[in-house]
Subunit: 413 residues, 2 copies
């Protein structure tokens, strides 16, 4: 017996199922319908096949997409939204010519966020996070990875992850928590990064694991922060403790963080502005997702990441916002998709795949998110345009009409 739909979204001009078929795997279906049951995609395909695939009843809700485009919701696989305060004063200093040393000397940088986050109440942390998750939703983002890493002590890191867990219960999006105690060396361990890594492995990781409040760990492997050796030691130990792995790699310098990612089996290596050609080959031949964050390049006026090279090498490439108060105060996946096309050499199709299917892969959610196929979570966006190419083309003001999470309408313009 055919299953009964709770919701039928019809009059879809272009449906991007992302099922792997067709150009760039976008699975484009013209004149389509999308059926939802119990928060999952029941069936999606050509309108003419609806009757043979799905049963409807008196309680089935029919909604028109108005001839518009429907895509999976964006999967933003790299954000830092748990912070005590914004840092627009550092942005203004940088604009006026200050470099990162001068900003640090004035009390800026990650440790600025650490001070403000340690001092912040849970309400402040929660409100900041919810505020930006709501903005992300308005841009079509339905799954969000969130990193801790502005606490850098046991108490604050746990508090931040607990806040993330509570917020996850209240927002419509799916939240994937990442513990990033290894975001920077805290003042208490100044000059002793190896001792801090030991402390993370021996004390903080087990406490996080015990509470079950993070799926991933992440580490900032960069000149002046953690070396590739420290990163590998931390990630290997974390894997043994049962965490999935991420790494901030080869952002400002080609330190070899990508190679660490591949050796440790990290799910993703992120940033890669300075990745070498050798490491491009290495990651392309691995199962690690290359996650690019072009908003950060724009924000910091750095060269954009080599998207085309990674794509041509055959890497699985995701794009994400890197939303954070220091180096990229950008919570717009639509802008990131435009940047991927305009500045990183992606085709329109590749940019849309990278922000959905591949974002899901970067979170280990390939079986649940990023596609509109039977059994997947019914997270999707109805766009106020009839051509998917308009999504990145309309720079700065996304044509989002309606957003659904788990089959429920959670935002509309």
């Amino acid at each position: 017996m055919r299953a009964r739909a709770d919701l039928v979204l019809r009059d879809i001009g272009q449906l991007l199922t992302m099922d792997g078929s067709g150009a760039s795997g976008m699975g484009l279906v013209n004149n389509a319908v999308l059926c939802v049951k119990d928060g999952k995609v029941l069936w999606a395909g050509p309108a003419g096949e609806l009757d043979s695939q799905v049963t409807v009843s008196d309680t089935t809700e029919f909604v028109s997409a108005g001839g518009g485009v429907v895509t999976p919701g964006f999967v933003d696989s790299h954000t830092h939204p748990i912070f005590g305060a914004t840092r627009q004063e550092e942005f203004a200093m940088r604009a006026a010519g200050a470099d990162y040393r001068e900003i640090a000397a004035a009390g800026g940088g990650i440790l600025n966020s650490v001070r403000k986050t340690r001092a912040a109440s849970e309400d402040v942390l929660e409100n900041n996070m919810k505020h930006h998750l709501a903005i992300m939703l308005s841009g079509g983002t339905t799954t969000v990875e969130v990193k801790s890493g502005y606490g850098l002590d046991l108490e604050t890191e746990l508090r931040c992850l607990e806040v993330a867990g509570r917020v996850a219960e209240e927002v419509p999006q799916t939240i994937v928590p990442t513990f990033m105690g290894a975001h920077e060396v805290p003042e208490e361990f100044a000059g002793k990064p190896d001792e801090y890594i030991d402390h993370l492995i021996d004390v903080v990781n087990p406490a996080v694991k015990k509470q079950g409040i993070a799926e991933f760990v992440d580490i900032f492997c960069e000149k002046g922060v953690f070396t590739p050796e420290q990163a590998e030691r931390y990630l290997s130990a974390s894997a043994k403790q049962g965490f999935s792995l991420k790494i901030h790699a080869d952002e400002f310098f080609d330190t070899g963080g990508t190679a660490v990612a591949v050796r440790t089996g990290a799910v993703s290596a992120d940033h890669l502005l300075s990745i070498s050609d050798d490491n491009i080959s290495l990651i392309a031949d691995s199962s690690t997702v290359a996650t690019l964050l072009p908003g950060t390049a724009l924000f910091l006026n750095k060269p954009f990441p080599p998207g085309r090279k990674l794509l041509d090498a055959g890497a699985t490439v995701a794009v994400a916002t890197d939303f954070n108060p220091g180096s990229c105060f950008c919570d717009s996946m639509p802008l990131v998709v435009s940047l991927a096309v305009c500045q990183c050499g992606f085709t329109v199709e590749e940019a849309l795949v990278s922000s959905t299917v591949n974002g899901a892969a970067a979170l280990g959610l390939s079986e649940r998110k990023g596609r509109i196929v039977s059994g997947y979570d019914a997270d999707f966006v109805v766009w106020n345009c009839d051509d998917f190419r308009t999504i990145p083309y309309h720079l700065g003001n996304p044509d989002v009409a309606v957003v659904y999470c788990a089959g429920l309408k959670v935002y509309s313009t």
Copy 2:
């Protein structure tokens, strides 16, 4: 006797009057009020001085800005919003590696818009324009220059400017119309640009002037379009006919369009991606505004315009969107302001001045727009943030709370 206010906006955390005082002339007042009468700014200043400056009555409306920032509305001094159809297919071709010759061979480019605009009904032209003006309003843009230039024949150019005039009556923003018959050489004059210039001067300009439907004329001075000599001939003749002047100058090649602008007394020279150091000095010593369009550089993956050099040389620099269906489908002034800071070397203060005061100067509206001082049009934005530096810092999602045009609330989130 002191004048009586219609509206008092109080609880303004930071008011940017742009009155020329203080850092970069932003005229920052903390804890301020803004009083409106008959659509004009009656008085704006420190809250403590309200009683001594303004009379209120029973009919005075009091509104709280919630401690937020208040700025003048953005003045977008360069847009092409009168078109028959969007061109996302060319965007996708360019993303896939096609250059402008291949796009032209496939029927793309400005002449594509010309075909579609000639074929479009007035309703289509009107709806496209209104749709994007509404989006612009949501980003805080309260004055918009609109160019014709996708008709390139007498009938269509007049129709487009008439549409602009009708739309101007219906939208809250102030619309400044520009006749840009010299946007490209139309097919009817292929290979005969001088004859087309003659035709514009002898036939079309006088018809536009007679109807009083354009304040400015503009010409695209660029390799393969119009030479500096043709531009100078056209602009000089147009000035004698009573038009104010604009020019698309030194965008892709340093052809000397800026020098033409200065010699002909153009109000603005726009684009300037490829301006030479000599021409930077020239425009800095002139009364011509240098209008930069960083969205176009982003969209086309070209080097960003040399904002810092122009500012250091002492030029009056404006920023605008260049919104158009071909080279920059960006209708967001907040994004442009972020790009000015992140990619063109502006300080936060300079970017805010360039998008308000200097945008007004680029439209000959320095006495009416771009400032919040007595007698100016009461066009302003209440921001959902308490620090003006947050405006460009929040990349991709502007914190607009409420927009006023002529003292009336015309948009709120």
